[in-house]
Symmetry: C2
Subunit: 208 residues, 2 copies
DNA sequence: TGACAAACGGAACCTTCGTTCCGTATAGTG
DNA sequence: CACTATACGGAACGAAGGTTCCGTTTGTCA
């Protein structure tokens, strides 16, 4: 329920055409069906679903899937990358707000909501430190940059403590989402737990 | 590096004897070696290590391992259960402290330190909501009860906000550990991030 | 010490899952 | 309409890991 649009501008990236010839009509259609199906399935089941499930959902054979995306990981990346960029855009959009503190916390809640409803993004960010960061470098960097800006402004205004960086913020939020899921985990509890973490992000804290 | 002691008092639980006859000496020894090896391996590599690795580490064949623990999951439970109970004991111990607030936050940091150094506990608590809670019910309940007491006292003194329950606290802490791991994740950063969460747990918070 | 039940080791088995291969179907073109 | 490059489906393959089976070893007891 999203439609995994990808930058198919002139095909430098994700196999939109092979060589120089335009893709056959059915191929284009199938590619899109696969992206849509994968987005749904990854989001609801997580990254560990069998690739067959994705193919079945898309109504194509595994062979077809593999012709479009040479590897399960490639498919995963194709989908997550767009989501990361969407989030980065949202962060940029909030950077001009008049109230930096509010903009920051609003973005945090947005990211939390996104990550919770879509286990794939969740998993992706979760594994960010491992070897995923390097593959989706573009998206991760863009997001990191956007958050850094938001965070910097919020800190400058004194709305947020000054001893955390963007990476830690992302990690904490994803952690809170994890937390919400391991409990009953509806949208409301996510918001509550993220709210607790936000409380911790506001200004100082005795070092305990 | 811990030694997985288990309540082998009179053998009602974890297969210390089969039927009514006492276990053979070598069997007792091997059982313990398996528990120790599994504790080490699970802690350092996580729950997903091949069972062969555990057997190899213990210096026994897989057959032997399976005779003592009918399933990988059973072995996992045997180990985690003792750790949960240890934590629950620690919680109980802190319940009599004169400063409830400090006792609560000290316990939280203890739990975080434990969970981080031992990926198994981490994984276990992480999956607590899924179908693990039912299996290690004893341990989870004991821990939950201990934390509830600590939390209740801390709340009563006004050191902690009154709108979170024990389950949420555990979830948040595990989430913070996850967070610390996905970054560089040394012991120090764990403490920092858990500190942020603790900050959020202190007293009220504007609802955002 | 001899016999037997208990325990051992590890090869073999089965299932799951990612990936490849190839015979078949079809969009696009003259 | 026929021809060919492109794309398709799904069976087959191989690696990985959990579990079982069985011939061999060993502790225990008379």
């Amino acid at each position: 329920m999203d439609g995994g649009r990808i930058s198919t501008d002139d095909g430098v990236d994700a196999t939109p055409e092979t060589g120089g010839r335009p893709m056959r009509a059915d191929a284009v259609k199938n590619r899109q069906r696969i992206l849509d199906a994968a987005a749904e399935v990854f989001a609801s089941e997580g990254v560990s679903v069998p690739i067959d499930a994705v193919a079945a959902r898309a109504g194509v054979g595994v062979g077809t899937l593999y012709r479009h995306f040479p590897t399960k990981e490639a498919l995963f990346e194709a989908i997550v990358l767009t989501k990361l960029i969407d989030l980065a855009d949202a962060a940029r959009a909030g950077a001009g707000a008049s109230d930096p503190g509010q903009a920051f916390f609003a973005f945090v809640q947005l990211m939390a909501a996104e990550a919770t409803m879509k286990r794939d993004l969740f998993d992706a960010l979760d594994a960010a430190g491992i070897d995923f960061k390097s593959r989706c470098a573009d998206g991760v960097e863009a997001l990191q940059a956007g958050i850094t800006t938001l965070l910097g402004r919020a800190v400058a205004v004194g709305a947020v403590r000054d001893d955390v960086d963007a990476g830690e913020v992302v990690a904490l939020i994803i952690g809170a989402c994890h937390a919400a899921e391991s409990i009953g985990g509806n949208a409301e509890s996510v918001q509550r737990l993220v709210g607790v973490v936000c409380g911790g992000l506001r200004r100082s804290a005795e070092a305990l």
